[in-house]
Amino acid sequence: MKLPYSIFPRRLFLNGLLGGGLAALGAAFIGPLLKFVIPPTREPDQVSLPLADFADMAAGTVRNFAWGNKPGFLKRTGAGDYVAFVGVCTHLDCNVAFLPGEKRFYCACHQGWYDEDGINIAGPPPAPLRRLAVGAEGDQLIVKKAA
């Protein structure tokens, strides 16, 4: 039986097939594209530092080291142990400085303060400085991501 008119004309079918196919093809490119635009993270799992460079630190002093491409701070405690922080402000990611006179960490971007244990005490920082685990192996200090 031949209908006098088509409820689903050939033009509509072809448009849907071609348009839908193109749209699906385009959508299939989105995932790979999103993957491409963000390179893998390069934060190290651990860094090793020659113990000799840090053995002469007095209690309560702080020295810099490189945590990947971020600044790290190594502090010697009163008991002679080492504590390490990532020297990046938890507010908006600026690098912090250690002020030896005041025994505090300071972020110049928005005037954020942390005490010598990295605890946020004033200004906008919402959390303490990130801590890293420090251990000794032979003549090396091993700084690792805290578990």
Binding site: V37, I38, P39, P40, T41, R42, E43, N64, A66, N69, K70, P71, G87, C89, H91, L92, D93, C94, N95, V96, A97, Y106, C107, A108, C109, H110, Q111, N120, G123, P124, P125, P126
Partner: protein, 352 residues
């Protein structure tokens, strides 16, 4: 000459365009000066394109060379300091002119029906202009620009769901690195220019389609107010405005050439007194003032959300203020004044 014109016309058929320009009229009234802001932005955009191309002859977007190549432009290349200074000052004047344009349209309610699409393309143009400023600020790769970019690219992270991804997209990873510099450079010299030209085409087309908006107060006065033919009367006046602006720009560029800090060091503590470009100062100050916790929520998140919602509402203004054109819209006027006062106050505070 006439034969040559006829020859061209037969092949290009520009009669429709020139005929339109010959008939185009610009209303004359107390707020006529607002009609000059658009073409002033165009002037500065043209200068940005020309000086930007010149700077790109010598600029090198790599960690090792970026800062040194800008220093070379400013010290060794003949008149390089002037080209850089004009690029920097023209950017500032362009943004300033964009803000005047935007405020004029908000106060005169020129965004109302049928000009909603014109407003939206304008808001997108504002976004692209600010993105130009933000990406361009990093390119000299000095201490200040690094710290400002770290803060600016960390802000989206506070947003729920897409935040972290947006930050990583802008930075090319979790941190600001050489990849960020490459990304900002290509955005500044290729992606954003294409975007601004496309949006500008749409914006200008819509402006011509709807004709110049006349403020309500002027429309009420008479059936049809006095007009000025666009060609040549209005165009000549614009040329006069352009000359004044060019003179201002060159004077500022010669007298106040921008400085250059020492090369950025990814390991160094942020320098004292970091400041973003002046048009981001109010956001900078707001972030500084927000405490770490607001009602138990993360202060940064609240600050970013409040500002994002405010800007979102402003972008959708024509769909919020849908009242007929004959209403004055005093509430909107008051809100725009309040927003302006807030931005000015915060900016001045941040400079104290």
């Amino acid at each position: 000459m006439n034969a040559f014109r006829a020859w061209i016309e037969e092949r290009l058929g520009l009669g429709a365009v020139t005929g339109f320009l010959e008939r185009k009229e610009v209303p004359r009234h107390g707020h006529s000066f607002l009609y000059y802001t658009g073409s002033s932005i165009l002037l500065f955009l043209g200068i940005q394109i020309a000086t930007g191309v010149l700077l790109a002859f010598y600029y090198r977007p790599t960690l090792a060379e970026a800062n040194a190549s800008v220093a070379r432009i400013a010290t060794e290349i003949p008149l390089g300091w002037l080209v850089r200074s004009v690029h920097s000052w023209s950017a500032t004047l362009m943004i300033a002119m964009v803000l005047v344009h935007l405020l004029g349209i908000s106060f005169t309610k020129a965004y109302r029906k049928p000009r909603e699409a014109t407003w939206l393309t304008g808001i997108l143009l504002l976004g692209v202009s600010l993105a130009f400023g933000f990406t361009g600020y990093l390119l000299p790769w000095d201490e200040l620009s690094l710290a400002a970019t770290k803060v600016g690219t960390d802000l989206p992270r506070a947003m729920p769901i897409v935040g972290t991804w947006l930050t990583r997209l802008m930075r090319a990873g979790d941190d600001v690195t050489g990849d960020t510099l490459s990304r900002f450079f290509i955005a500044h010299v290729s992606v954003l220019p294409l975007a601004i030209l496309a949006l500008l085409g749409a914006h200008l087309f819509l402006v011509q389609r709807h004709g110049m908006s006349v403020p309500l107060a002027e429309e009420k006065k008479g059936v049809k107010g006095p007009v000025l033919p666009f060609w040549p009367n209005f165009a000549y006046r614009e040329a006069g405005v352009w000359l004044i602006l060019l003179g201002t720009l060159l004077t500022m560029a010669v007298v106040f050439a921008p400085g250059l800090g020492s090369q950025a060091d990814l390991m160094a503590p942020a320098p004292e007194g970091i400041k973003p470009e002046w048009y981001f100062l109010f956001m900078f100050q707001t972030l500084k003032l927000f405490p770490a916790k607001v009602l138990g929520l993360d202060g940064e998140l609240v600050a970013v959300l409040v500002m994002a919602v405010g800007m979102g509402l402003f972008a959708l203004l024509p769909f919020i203020d849908t009242r007929p054109a004959e209403r004055k819209g005093r509430i909107i006027t008051a809100l725009v004044w309040a927003g302006l006062a807030y931005a000015l106050g915060m900016s001045i505070w941040s400079l104290l």
